[in-house]
């Protein structure tokens, strides 16, 4: 894609609780290039939301950053003061959240909510800011925008409110848009419209997107690259085709297997639940639920093994001395597709 705009290196974040220190983010590194969409996939407790909140400086009071850097154009955001972060949020890095019902101010007309970032960040005068707000309201597909700009959030449907939230996020043309489960609360047909809108706007506004979700269908449609998180770590990352058609980590296999596809006859659930991060296991955190676990998984955390220049997975199965195992049938099916895709590339 383009130049690298964000570089997260070795991030470690703990939460200080009455029960002890919860090691929520355990050495997470990833990057984002200009113009691309990176999907961070994980389930509850994987750390995906904490990761993005740390990018925005929105961590809870009991969070302790134990190590690492978040380099935005070479500058470490973790070293910013709150005042410095305020000028980053909404202007350079914007965020949209899951629940459009609670992310809008119910007492403020939506026109002003969209105009506010322009007034605060770009010092645009109110009348002009409202005019720009109207333009972006039309851009996100709100009909009768001239009338509706004076309405309050409760006068809109869920899908419309999410469009307004997107308008607020994009009005300053941020370099990075973080979307944290933006369509989970929406109906499937509205979801499809919102996702198409985001793709369209991404091109128009030239913004890079970090997309957080647990819905692999949405990832397949939106992402250029994917990072899979489990128990506070990234366990596999690669291009969207590599992750979906040539996955290497048993957790990624488990996720793909537990989603019904058109051909599904049996759903393979991943048994058990994620480990308690108050006392993370010393070896591979997924070992307890991994049908392919080996003795070493209980002893030592696997490093990232290279699958391609763009694809890495942290599983001992990729060690040169590891035994050859047969992945689940669904994964074999996907790998066949991958082999065909690779063959076409060579031609």
């Amino acid at each position: 894609m383009g130049e690298r705009i964000l570089d997260v290196k070795n991030l470690e974040i703990d939460f200080h609780t009455y029960a002890g220190e919860v090691k929520a983010i355990r050495n997470v590194s990833f990057h984002l290039d200009k113009g691309e969409t990176l999907a961070i996939v994980g389930e509850s407790g994987s750390g995906k939301s904490v990761t993005t909140k740390s990018l925005m400086g929105l961590l809870a009071n009991n969070a302790r950053v134990k190590g690492g850097e978040i380099l935005f154009h070479g500058k470490d955001l973790l070293k910013n003061t709150e005042k410095e972060m305020q000028s980053v949020r909404g202007k350079d890095i914007a965020m949209i959240f899951q629940d459009p019902m609670t992310s809008l101010d119910p007492t403020m007309r939506i026109g002003m909510q969209i105009a506010e970032p322009l007034i605060k960040h770009k010092h645009v005068e109110k009348k002009k800011a409202l005019a720009q707000a109207l333009e972006i309201l039309k851009l996100v597909g709100i009909k009768d925008a001239e009338k509706r700009i004076n309405d309050y959030p409760h006068q809109f449907s869920g899908g419309q409110r999410q469009r307004i939230v997107i308008a607020i996020a994009l009005v300053c043309y941020p370099e990075i848009l973080i979307a944290d489960e933006p369509t989970t609360a929406l109906d499937v047909t509205i979801q499809a419209q919102i996702l198409d809108l985001m793709k369209e706007l991404q091109t128009k506004i030239e913004t890079s997107i970090i997309f957080i979700t647990h819905d692999l269908g949405v990832v397949a449609g939106m992402a250029d690259r994917v990072a899979v998180m489990y128990a506070g770590q990234i366990v596999e990352y690669g291009t969207v085709d590599e992750i979906f058609y040539n996955p290497q980590h048993p957790y990624t296999w488990g996720l793909l297997n537990s989603m019904p596809t058109l051909e599904s006859t049996k759903l393979e659930a991943i048994p058990g639940t994620p480990p308690d991060l108050l006392d993370p296991p010393k070896g591979d955190a997924f070992a307890a639920r991994n049908p392919y676990a080996m003795k070493i998984d209980a002893e030592k955390q696997p490093p990232f093994f290279k699958v391609s220049d763009t694809h890495y997975a942290a599983t001992w199965l990729l060690h040169p001395d590891a035994p050859k195992i047969t992945p689940p049938a669904e994964i074999i099916r996907r790998r066949k597709i991958f082999a065909e895709m690779e063959a076409k590339k060579v031609d």
Partner: protein, 318 residues
């Protein structure tokens, strides 16, 4: 299956209107008719506001239907008059709710939550028997005996949903309405709960009405599917037929909007736009469910039947 199997539930012209007589009356369920056969899973899908949840709640009598009949095991249960009637109905039909955080009383222990039905119906003689039944149920749903003395807040969403299932099973019902039982759960936990429901169905001969908006999951678990929109049932048929050979435009548009974990498919997917005005008829022609191919019904006017039959035939040629 439908010909040999017995009908356990018949819903006839069910209407559930809220705010009747007021200007903002909502016709949540507007003349819905369908049957459910013993031992099957009937999936009821639709988006928010379609009336699917209200339909489920009307069937189990959380609301008194505005009009229509609900015939359960041959008895008309639309109007339950005596306490004995209500009790016997409650034993045979149970519900699993959507929100695992709101559907368990936070001030009751797990044992009390699961045993409440046993207590009401006097199904156990003493404390020991009660405890034994609860422990058995906990193990059935994949939880631990020692969970019985704990409180809901100590459990995850998936575990709470299992407790809800144990509670529903306690009185040994024949029919369970599962109202979006998995939407609040993580993907891998959804698969666990769905597999559990399927296993229980096989072991105990249960019949399910599975209400959900996740089409892929509904297709996976259901034998037959009904599609609702704006309070009306637009299409009913075997799961594979409805999913792969949809007849109604709305069904087709719904299916086209479902994201699939397959990047190549997603790159080529085109969402089909739906025009809801086709459901209303300017000439006022009556619309009801007509059978187009065996067991596959679509809501249409009489003179549209030929058009739908041609549509169904076109699928066969492909």
């Amino acid at each position: 299956m439908p010909e040999q199997a017995k009908k356990i539930l018949e819903v006839k012209h069910l209407k559930q209107y809220f705010g009747v007589g007021k200007p903002d009356m909502v016709k949540a369920v507007d003349d819905v008719t369908f049957d459910i056969y013993e031992g099957e899973t009937f999936g009821l899908v639709g988006e928010s506001g379609s009336g699917k949840t209200t339909t489920g709640r009307s069937i189990i009598h959380l609301y008194d239907p505005t009009d229509g009949q609900i015939i359960f095991n041959g008895k008309d249960v639309s109007k339950l008059h005596t306490k004995a009637d209500r009790l016997s109905f409650a034993r045979e039909m149970q519900m699993i709710f959507q929100d695992p955080y709101a559907s368990l009383n936070p001030r009751m222990t797990i044992e009390d939550i699961i045993a409440e039905g046993l207590d009401i119906h006097h199904l156990v003689k003493n404390k020991e028997e009660r405890r034994a039944r609860v422990e058995e149920l906990l193990e059935t749903v994949g939880l631990n005996k020692d969970h019985a003395s704990r409180y809901p807040h100590e459990f995850s969403g998936g575990q709470r949903q299992r407790i809800g299932i144990a509670r529903a099973l306690a009185v040994e019902p024949k029919f369970i309405i599962a109202d979006e039982p998995i939407s609040a759960l993580d993907v891998s936990i959804q698969a666990q709960v769905v597999n559990l429901l399927k296993d229980l169905q096989k072991e105990r001969g249960l019949t399910y009405l599975f209400v959900a908006h996740d089409l892929s999951m509904v297709k996976y678990i259901s034998d037959r599917i009904g599609v609702m929109h704006y309070g009306r049932l637009l299409e009913v048929g075997p799961a594979d037929d409805v999913y792969f050979k949809p007849l109604h435009d709305y069904t087709a548009s719904l299916i086209s909007a479902v994201p699939v974990p397959d990047p190549e498919f997603e790159r080529n997917r085109k969402q089909i736009e739906y025009d809801p005005s086709i459901e209303e008829d300017k000439e006022g022609r009556p619309r009801k469910l007509h059978e187009i191919t065996p067991n596959h019904f679509v809501r249409c006017a009489e003179d549209e039947i030929e058009m739908y039959k041609a549509k169904a035939a076109a699928y066969e040629k492909k």
